[in-house]
């Protein structure tokens, strides 16, 4: 590796002298929008290859000290095309009319750890979303705001519970047993996206059945703490060919978030106020009983009399549970400004969303302060800080074995009884089941309280600069700390609470997570005066630690109903500590040549990690890419062909390399050590455990038409993931459940097509249309271990489960189609979780001061295991029981003929995800009203307003086991979905 650095050194020593000429004349000018003639405030005005820089003022003017001779001036502003002009020696006054770059062809996309490339030269299909697009409609977790906006990015929420819990899948299935989430990099810091279970399992006993995994707790992945309104831009590296430079953590892709920063100019203050509400968007319904005989026939003689059944009277339990439409609000502000040397951005958020059930909701408060400071001409320091508090009240959801999760109780509770709160505040007892969900939600608490502090400091030092070369040294240090507290309280009055002999349950979970990052990198650019090529060499080192410490207390039998955990008569504690240390090195060379038309990149990353069995070994991840823009005449601006290859990894998780024993049990206080008594933890660690390796090749074509008013992108890719972290099922007679090894191969292929059009562009009428289509197909191409069922992917073959088989899709659902003559079940592939395709459509139409924006998201295919419907059918209480449910029951698993296919159902849907209608008050009217006001915007918006789906479950986005690489779409008593409506006002000062 050192030899590469010697080469770099030799390159750098050959530098010519610097030529910073004296600034002796003042250039003044005016910059306006070519279409409207309005000033382009905040545009950056620079003299290329110098540190000379200023920003355009509110009135569109700027002044800039420049050298005496003829000089080039470059004017840039996001959303406009670059404007480069040569100012002759004698001219001191310029005007510039900037053309809009609606489709953002010229934006610089961050592709390396410290380098970027103009979008028009990009060799990968990197997805980008601007902050404005992210903030179109308010969202609780940032992933909601990405859904449907980038091809190849599959976003699926796990349930309708407030506060997040969303899976992001970049370009299909990329793993089986390793982590499924992409890497989030926020202002250079690796931001933790862990999902920490609340431990509600202690009450639901979801793991008491077949599946001993806390993943059924409906957990929130912690990127939910990011405030979507602070985002300047999001860049999505969808696979190894783009993300190789992030090495062994980048297999699931990398999402790079930059937060908003200040711009030079007078202080600007924006404030936004929203009011809205959440509304239950779908219900399942329940069987109606005609007469007492029908009820008695199902529940036994005398039932109608004992529950007080009145023919014709029924109660909508779902409405009683989740019919709340309480007022939600969101207040946000930001303040930004500064001068040429100091810029600041300050923002705040106060979000208070009321959930559709009692005691559910989501609150978030955020304060961000970003500041940039130039020290002389060569040093630029940047500081980003964010403190966030969020409180998610998640209610109770998903699988359970204690009869407490609402949609596990309704399938067995006839709608002939009123379960709602009585005027005196008490609740009726549910005569059909162990709990009354309306009472449970009315009295319980499930609070996930998070405080998070994320900060990063970046120092960029232009160590040397000549008219042909530049060396920048960049140091970055960051920390991301959060503390999550899960407080769950189930008071003794709850109907189910005395079932275990310990009325009242209090659960407390405290989790601390600290990620620390330190990066150092050097970027050397060399552009010979001939203009033949630009060389960019970057090299760096990255050190990172991740510490996670979770401690949990379960306290049962609360004396006098006191919720403190020490008031319990039966207390159990649990602690889990994890630490990972990573060290990485990277080197990358980019060459831009042939009139900026050919871009070639080569580089590699070398990583070592404490999570690997050999913690001293470096694993290398190379990358190569190239793109060429062909100039074409006529309506085509240019056509770009591109190809890229890269490798990346997916680390083993902490602890996977060990073969642990369990020392946490005792019998009457007598301690013992045993093999962990669980199929999840009884694992033999392989002595050679290393990262999974993804090799991705992608190729594509980008066409831009009509002077940048239309773009078309086509990308094909193939990912091959080898050295999969596979759990080789050991024979149970070994006493261990699994051995963790690197083996096997998975292949994912896919296509992405994006089209963006600006059908109309004028001073009064603008219309931008975008559509993204993508699909992927995966196959297990080599599986040297027996067919296996990954953890958290179902409840046995009879009910349907994901199963990993050679030459089959890693997301296939396997079930029984019945029984053969000798009574053995007949197994078959009965479905696939992976959608056939996803297709989204966005329209953004502005007529004068009125703007309409809407986003449709369409998913075709994708199968679910609708076990919620199975429960309703088993309870003989599905709404269509008499017409269809009884037939399903008779043919389906468990109580019927055993055909799993009955409950494997299609999840195709069309959702109107986002819609906003806004009206910007005429500027004159605003100015007349109050001089300090810059703009006023009124808006109405909604999220998930319309869902069209044949799926008979509450929502086609569902995952009982949370974020999983393959074990998704399992519908067991989810939190029902909601839509939200908002009205609001933005003020700019």
């Amino acid at each position: 590796m050192k030899s590469r650095f010697v080469l770099l050194l030799a390159l750098l020593v050959g530098l010519g002298a610097t030529s910073l000429e004296a600034q002796t004349r003042v250039l003044s000018g005016r910059v306006t929008d070519a279409l409207t003639g309005e000033p382009v405030v905040g545009a950056e005005v620079t003299v290329p290859n110098t540190a000379i820089r200023t920003f355009v003022n509110d009135d569109g003017s700027f002044t800039l000290g420049v050298p005496t001779g003829a000089v080039q001036v470059l004017i840039r502003r996001i959303g406009y095309k670059r404007y480069l002009l040569t100012v002759p020696a004698g001219q001191n006054n310029v005007t510039a009319e900037l053309e809009r770059d609606v489709l953002q062809l010229e934006e610089v996309v961050i592709t390396g750890v410290a380098t970027g490339v103009s979008r028009q030269n990009l060799a990968n299909a990197v997805g980008t979303i601007s902050g404005e697009d992210v903030a179109e409609v308010t969202s609780q977790s940032v992933e909601h705001a990405i859904a449907g906006k980038v091809a190849g990015v599959d976003i699926q929420q796990n349930s309708g519970a407030p506060g997040g819990g969303v899976q992001v899948r970049l370009r299909g299935t990329t793993s089986i047993n390793a982590t499924a989430q992409p890497l989030w990099v926020v202002d250079g810091v690796l931001m933790s996206d862990v999902a920490i279970p609340s431990n509600q399992n202690a009450v639901t006993a979801a793991t008491g059945g077949n599946n001993p995994s806390l993943t059924q707790d409906g957990q929130v992945n912690r990127i939910a703490d990011l405030n979507p309104e602070d985002i300047e831009s999001i860049e999505i590296l969808k696979g190894a060919s783009a993300s190789a430079i992030y090495g062994s953590k980048a297999s699931n892709g990398v999402i790079i978030v930059r937060t908003r920063r200040g711009r030079a100019g007078p202080p600007r203050f924006n404030v936004s106020q929203r009011f809205g509400t959440f509304d239950l968007s779908n219900k399942l319904g329940s069987r109606t009983f005609e007469d007492a005989a029908e009820l008695d026939g199902l529940f036994g003689a005398g039932t109608a009399a004992s529950v007080g059944f009145t023919p014709g009277v029924s109660f909508d339990h779902e409405e009683q549970l989740a019919g709340r439409n309480a007022l939600s609000s969101e207040t946000s502000f930001n303040l930004s400004g500064g001068d040429e040397d100091t810029q600041y951005f300050l923002s705040g958020l106060w979000q208070d969303d009321a959930g559709i059930m009692e005691n559910t909701g989501f609150e978030k408060q955020s304060l961000r302060f970003n500041v940039d400071q130039n020290v002389g001409e060569r040093i630029r320091g940047s500081l980003s800080t964010n403190i966030v508090h969020s409180l998610a009240q998640r209610g109770l959801q998903n699988n359970d074995n204690a009869g407490v999760s609402p949609y596990m109780v309704f399938p067995f509770t006839a709608n002939v009884v009123d379960l709602s709160r009585r005027p005196d505040g008490t609740y009726p007892t549910n005569p059909f089941e162990r709990s009354n969900p309306i009472q449970t939600l009315g009295l319980m608490q499930n609070d996930e309280d998070v405080w998070r502090f994320t900060t990063s400091g970046r120092l960029e030092f232009t160590a040397a600069r000549t008219n042909t070369s530049e060396l920048r040294l960049i140091g970055l240090a960051g920390a991301d700390y959060f503390q999550q507290q899960n407080e769950l309280f189930f008071p003794a009055e709850l109907q189910f609470e005395d079932d275990d002999g310990f009325p009242g349950t209090s659960l407390l979970g405290n989790s601390d997570n600290l990620n620390i990052n330190v990066n150092g990198s050097a970027v050397f650019t060399f552009a010979p005066t001939s203009g033949a090529a630009t060389f960019t060499t970057s090299a760096g080192i990255q050190y990172e630690t991740r510490d996670l410490n979770i401690s949990r207390v379960v306290s049962r039998g609360l004396t006098a109903g006191q919720p403190n955990i020490d008031a319990g008569t039966n207390v159990a504690v649990n602690e889990d500590r994890q630490r990972v240390e990573d060290l990485g090195f990277f080197l990358q060379e980019e060459v831009l040549t042939l009139n900026d038309r050919l871009l070639l990149t080569a580089g590699f990353r070398a990583d070592q990690s404490s999570a690997n069995a050999d913690d001293t070994k470096l694993y290398f991840f190379p990358k190569f890419s190239g793109s060429y823009r062909i100039p074409v005449g006529g309506v085509l601006d240019d056509v770009k062909f591109r190809a890229a290859y890269g490798e990346s990894g997916n680390q083993p998780l902490f602890g996977q390399k060990f073969t642990p024993l369990d020392a946490t049990f005792n019998i009457e206080g007598i301690p013992g050590i045993i093999v962990p008594p669980s199929t999840i933890f009884a694992i033999v660690g392989s002595p050679g455990l290393k990262p999974e390796r993804q090799r991705e090749i992608e190729g594509g074509m980008d066409i831009s038409f009509y002077g940048g008013r239309a773009t078309f992108e086509l990308t094909l890719y193939q990912k091959t993931i080898s050295d999969l972290l596979l759990t080789r099922r050991l024979a149970p007679t070994s006493g261990f459940a699994n051995e963790l090894i690197n083996a096997g191969e998975l292949r994912t292929r896919g296509a992405e097509v994006s089209l963006a059009l600006v059908p109309a562009q004028s001073a009064d009428f603008n219309w931008v249309f975008r559509t993204n289509f993508f699909l992927s197909r995966s196959k297990v191409t080599n599986l040297p271990v027996p067919t296996f069922i990954p953890s958290s992917s179902g409840f046995g073959i009879g009910l349907g489960t994901i199963r990993i088989e050679e030459n089959k899709s890693p997301t296939q659902i396997v079930g029984n189609t019945g029984f053969d003559a000798s009574g053995n079940p007949i197994e078959a592939t009965v479905g696939d979780v992976n959608p056939d395709f996803k297709w989204s459509f966005t329209n953004d139409v502005t007529y004068k001061n009125v703007n309409l924006y809407f986003l449709f998201d369409w998913q075709k295919g994708s199968d679910a295991l609708n076990l919620t419907q199975l429960l309703y059918d088993i309870g003989s209480l599905s709404a269509d029981f008499e017409t269809a449910g009884s037939t399903r029951r008779a043919n389906g698993p468990l109580v019927g003929a055993g055909d799993t296919r009955i409950y494997v159902q299609d999840l195709s849907f069309l959702k109107l995800r986002e819609v906003t209608l806004s009206w910007r008050l005429p500027d004159e009217a605003v100015a007349n009203f109050w001089g300090a006001l810059r703009n006023v915007r009124l808006f109405a918006q909604a999220r998930n307003l319309i869902t069209i789906a044949d799926y008979p479950g509450v929502d086609p986005e569902v995952s009982n086991f949370g974020n999983q690489p393959s074990g998704r779409n399992i519908d067991v008593a989810p939190f029902p979905p909601s839509r939200s409506f908002w009205f609001g006002l933005d003020l700019g000062f």
Partner: protein, 481 residues
């Protein structure tokens, strides 16, 4: 030109001169992070310490109670198949569909594939503990203490294998573990080979216990109070051996071993060795205690009960059940109901019997009766009068029933005498580990359990192997997969 000079001083190599050594220093550092959460298996398989080995021996108590008293554990599930109980848990209708209608599916870990993995985890721990004892120097653990530990471990190993054999029966079981857990799985041996191995382990343990000192070197929970020294533990060892003898129909050997067991008509019928449960941190609760009226008694327990002289039903029925206000039905609306709740395990820390005096007395009766054959063709060749003494003892002292007089007894057929014995085993050992299913199966009487049940119901003969066990073997066992 001043500016130019300053810039030249900042030649890039200066910075690289600082950067490169930094890179060189940081490359290939070890990033060692230990397992913060658990001890490693090396602590037993490497060079163990005496305290680690003692902890491993004590761990066997924790293993032994696992999968016994949980909702899907051996007492509950074998109770359902043996028509001792129901589980009407709405969340999982397989307690009705798979266990009462069938067939048992080796693909469902909590049902047809159950009662296997936890037992082999225990066998692995027993292997590790025995290995650990062998590896300790005599200075670390005295030879007499080692002998005591070995006697204990082998006895528990035999009990463990017996529980396995009870569920798999004719399918057979593996009786060893491969020292390398990732190696080939151990062979499945036949039922009779398994019985031979269980008997051998118990007899080996007997001689180890003979070489032991006056006390064990490890701690024992209260359930082992009557067997907490090597000498008294032998009484437990012999009791298990007698049960194995009866299961193997070695009746003479059974009577010999019962003499050396803790059988004593002078002590309480409940005297015995128990699994302990608890509710403290790190403990496991007895989930057979359940106030949700989900795990309830089979109604035949009431209808089959004999009457006392007073006309009251068998006292064992009265003591072990409580009548509910309303009958509870199965949630899958198949149409079975019960209004009998259990009172047998009155708290989440109630112990569950492994073997108790009452069973030993009935084993003696069974050995004396000496029956063989299957339903409809039962013949008994033993001392039926000696058997009657023990049967009457239990009838009177446990059931509150009248004694059967010698004349009436003599008038009964062999099969009727066996039925009377089985009646008493059923009522005395009800919901304590599937005795009814096991005993009825031993005499080919499982079809009798279906009386009065819906036509779709069946009684499983035995559990299949879990699908993982079949998948992991190049040649799956001949039957059970």
């Amino acid at each position: 030109m001043l500016r130019l000079e300053r810039a030249q001083k900042m030649k890039p190599y200066r910075y690289l001169a600082v950067l490169l050594p930094a890179l060189g220093l940081s490359a290939c550092q070890t990033l060692t992070v230990p397992d913060f959460n658990n001890p490693g298996i090396e602590e037993l398989t490497g060079t163990p310490t005496a305290s680690a080995v003692i902890a491993a021996v004590q761990g066997i108590f924790i293993d032994a109670r696992s999968n016994i008293a949980n909702a899907a554990g051996q007492v509950s599930q074998l109770g359902i198949i043996g028509r001792e109980s129901y589980n009407f848990d709405a969340s999982d209708p397989r307690f009705v569909t798979e266990l009462l209608i069938g067939p048992l599916d080796g693909g469902t870990p909590a049902f047809g594939g159950n009662h296997w993995f936890p037992r082999y985890q225990e066998l692995r721990d027993e292997f590790n503990a025995l290995n650990g004892v062998d590896k300790l120097l005599d200075t670390e653990m005295a030879p007499a203490d080692k002998a005591g530990a070995r006697g204990f471990i082998k006895t528990m190993q035999a009990l463990n294998l017996l529980l396995l054999l009870n569920t798999r029966d004719e399918n057979g079981i593996a009786v060893t573990v491969n020292p390398d857990p990732t190696g080939d799985p151990p062979p499945i041996v036949s039922k009779s080979e398994a019985f031979t191995e269980i008997a051998r382990l118990l007899d080996d343990a007997q001689s180890d216990l003979g070489n032991a000192g006056s006390s064990f070197v490890f701690q024992m929970p209260s359930g082992f109070a009557i067997a907490n020294t090597p000498a008294t533990f032998l009484g437990f060892n012999r009791a298990l051996r007698a049960r194995v003898d009866v299961y193997m129909q070695n009746y003479a050997s059974a009577l010999t071993n019962l003499v050396a067991s803790f059988l004593n008509t002078g002590s309480a019928l409940s005297t015995g060795v128990y699994y302990n449960y608890g509710v403290g941190a790190g403990e496991v609760a007895n989930a057979l205690f359940d106030q949700s009226e989900v795990r309830i008694a089979h109604p035949s327990f009431e209808t089959d009960a004999q009457l006392q002289g007073s006309g009251e039903p068998d006292r064992r029925f009265q003591n072990k059940t409580l009548r509910l206000a309303d009958p509870v039905g199965d949630q899958a609306s198949i149409g079975i109901f019960s209004d009998l709740d259990f009172t047998i395990y009155p708290s989440p820390s109630a112990p569950v019997p492994i073997i108790k005096n009452e069973e030993l007395i009935l084993l003696r009766a069974e050995a004396n009766l000496g029956c063989a054959g299957t339903a409809g063709a039962i013949s008994c060749s033993g001392d039926s009068d000696a058997a009657l003494v023990d049967i009457n003892f239990i009838r009177q002292n446990s059931g509150g029933l009248d004694a059967i007089d010698a004349g009436a007894w003599a008038a009964l057929t062999d099969e009727q005498r066996l039925d009377e014995l089985l009646y008493n085993k059923r009522y005395s050992l009800w919901w304590e580990g599937g005795h009814r299913w096991i005993d009825w199966r031993r005499y080919g009487k499982l079809a009798e359990l279906l009386v009065g049940e819906p036509a779709s119901f069946t009684v499983a003969q035995r559990y299949p192997f879990p699908v993982q066990e079949c998948d992991a073997r190049a040649t799956p066992p001949a039957q059970g997969c």
